[in-house]
Amino acid sequence: MRDLLSKPLVVVTGKGGVGKSTVAAALGMAAASRGLRTIVAEVSARDDVSRALATDAPAPGTTFVERDLGDGLHHISIDPESALEEYVRDQLPRGVSDLLTSSRMFAYLVAATPGLRELLTVGKVWELAQPDRRTPGAHPYDLVVLDAPATGHGVGVLTAPGTFADAARMGPVARQGGKIHAMLADPERTAIVAVSRAEEMPVNETLTLRDALADDPLRQRLAAVVVNGVLPNRFRGAELRALEAAPPSRAVRAARTEAARARAHRSQLARLRRSVGDVPVRTLPFVFGDAGDLDGAAVARLGEELVR
């Protein structure tokens, strides 16, 4: 998975609760420790990535700011409203942009137009990933890691630019939507990583995600699947038989339970590997504690494990 870090944009997708933000933060840390100027972008206002990066959540009103966390690592929390404001200011003369952004009607229309929030969000991500930044005075990044929204597998943010470019056909949105789409659809420039768990539903969702990516308008592939929380294969044949024969004390029940779960994990993992063919599948070990409470060093170790 090391070649992931050679692309300008890595999009980390997956349903909520699979450890997506932790993986995004871990990849960001691994990249930064290799000397890449890296930014991890999150799009919900939940600060999951901040927590995984073991940094404070951004102060209110400063979310849409590229924060330098030191050692080449940066963080930004993107909200569509700020992204829109920035875009409009960039595209239009000052007076007109002021008029537009202060108009409640405009805000209303933007909020209600299907897919526009996704377009604005990913538009900012695209801007971050440009070697020649639109934002005045901003430095380019070597790598942008996007912790994609959990809804609809995060496919929405990936397909919105193409859909909009297609619907608009002409004008700036079509032109820029087309450019953003071209980057997202290009496996050389955008690596899409799915985060999953070795359980029935998450594996199904990963396969659905793969199919949705392969479809129009994106026609992309998964660069890798990260399976989180995999139990170790601790007990083997003779030991399992001894456990079955032993009186069911708590320790014996615990061992049997864990062995059964580990077996279920292995079979889901095997199903996933069979189904995704040549897409690399990496596993991360189950953490006996709350993955959300990992400290920075633990997240960094996960990152090293991923890019090893």
Binding site: K15, G16, G17, V18, S44, L92, V96, L99, L100, S103, M105, F106, Y108, L109, A111, A112, T113, P114, G115, E118, P149, A150, T151, G156, T163, F164, A167, A168, R169, M170, G171, P172, V173, A174, E200, M201, P202, N204, R234, F235, E239, A242, L243, A246, P247, S249, R250, A251, V252, A254, A255, R256, T257, E258, A264, F288, G289, D290, G292, D293
Partner: protein, 379 residues
């Protein structure tokens, strides 16, 4: 609030299971429906995105907009006698939304104009709150049909619980909004009436977005506005149903940090919206045994390396159990449910009929039986 799930559900006609994704919400909904049907009720469970194998287990392979009767024979072999009726439906939000439009459109031309609109076709799934609105609108239809004593709704896995409660308001709020009316107004006179600023905004929007997009949007919203009265009526009725005494919201969660935070957040939202809260179901719990294990007694008869591994496993599971106990404590206090329904983490797979039956056993246990089942599973 306390008590067995059966007491909590007594006299309820609508049971809404809410919570974040990945906490076993769908399985819980199906197990509740199965339990109520076993006890003689005519029950319909509406789910959005069940595991394929669960859908297969219930015999609802097809996405659709009508309920299918679950063959009692599927459950009989697993010790469940269905004294009532169990119906299940896997909601196809897009198709159901289409049907809603079809039902509300004043004429065939308007209907086709909406359904064929490019924006609608490509993006209707993304119209703010449409999936949530579809689910509650369907719930309303089923409730009104009188075919069921109880309807159990497995809510869409929104990241934000608000989406679900606000969906009716947001959709109609937008359709009624000034922005829409201005957008729909003919140019010229209307533009003068609403003021120059607005005209400028639209000309700028047109430049920014490309003319075609604007006209597509205009057609989309124009056609949608013709179904506005129907939407408004529906939304009002749906809101009344959600707040009804015969409706109850169960918050389903697991003891993990994110779902717990979401559950607490959702409880606050229910309170704000004055929706009826029926209790908490905590899935995937590792129950914690009170007494510390006595190392020697635990591993009697195992050889030393295996004994060490078994004890280490027990220590890890007890760490998880302690974490879960702390989470449940936090939930109890924050949510205001002293006696939440606890379902232990089950060793087997829960996406088949046996899994449903196992969860059902814990959900529907009454009195001392609940504590006994939990202590059996405790580490």
């Amino acid at each position: 609030m306390s008590g067995d799930l059966l007491d909590r559900l007594a006299e309820k006609r609508v049971v809404i299971c809410a919570g974040s994704g990945g906490v076993g919400k769908t399985t819980t909904s199906a197990a509740i429906a199965m339990g109520l049907a076993a006890r003689g009720a005519r029950v319909c469970v509406v789910t959005i995105d069940p595991a394929r194998r669960l859908a297969d287990a219930l015999g609802i392979e097809q996405l659709g907009s009508v309920p299918h009767r679950v063959d009692a024979g599927r459950l009989a072999g697993h010790g469940i006698t269905t004294n009532g009726q169990l119906w299940a439906m896997m909601l196809d939000p897009k198709r159901t939304f289409d049907e809603l439009i079809e039902g509300l459109a004043p004429d065939a031309a308007t209907r086709d104009e909406i359904l064929d609109n490019r924006i609608y076709r490509e993006l209707s799934g993304a119209v703010a709150g449409s999936q949530e609105f579809t689910a509650v609108a369907k719930l309303y239809d089923l409730e009104r049909s009188g075919r069921f004593d109880v309807i159990v709704l497995d809510t869409p896995p929104s990241r934000n619980a608000l989406d679900f409660l606000d969906a009716p308001d947001r959709l109609t709020g937008f359709l009624e909004g000034r922005a829409l009316r201005v957008l729909l107004a003919p140019s010229g006179l209307a533009a003068r009436v609403v003021g120059r600023g607005t005209a400028v905004i639209f000309s700028v929007l047109g430049r920014l977005t490309g003319v075609d997009l604007m006209s597509d949007l205009k057609v989309f919203f124009a056609a949608l506005s013709t179904v506005l009265d129907g939407f408004r009526e529906r939304a009002t009725a749906v809101k009344a149903l959600l707040a009804d005494d015969a409706t109850t919201f169960l918050i389903v969660t697991s003891p993990e940090r994110e779902p717990v935070a979401e559950a607490i957040f959702f409880r606050d939202k229910l309170r704000e919206a004055r929706m009826p809260f029926g209790g908490l179901v905590v899935n995937r719990v590792h129950p914690l045994a009170d007494e510390e294990p006595d190392a020697d007694g635990e591993v009697d008869g195992l050889d030393a390396p295996l004994a060490r591994k078994a004890l280490r496993t027990l220590a890890e599971l007890r760490a998880l159990a302690a974490r879960d106990a702390a989470a449940i404590d936090r939930l109890r206090r924050a949510v205001g449910d002293d006696d939440p329904v606890i379902v232990p983490h089950l060793a087997g797979d829960v996406h088949d009929v046996d899994g449903l039956v196992a969860i059902h056993r814990h959900l529907f246990a009454v009195g001392d039986e609940r504590a006994r089942l939990l202590s059996e599973a405790a580490f």
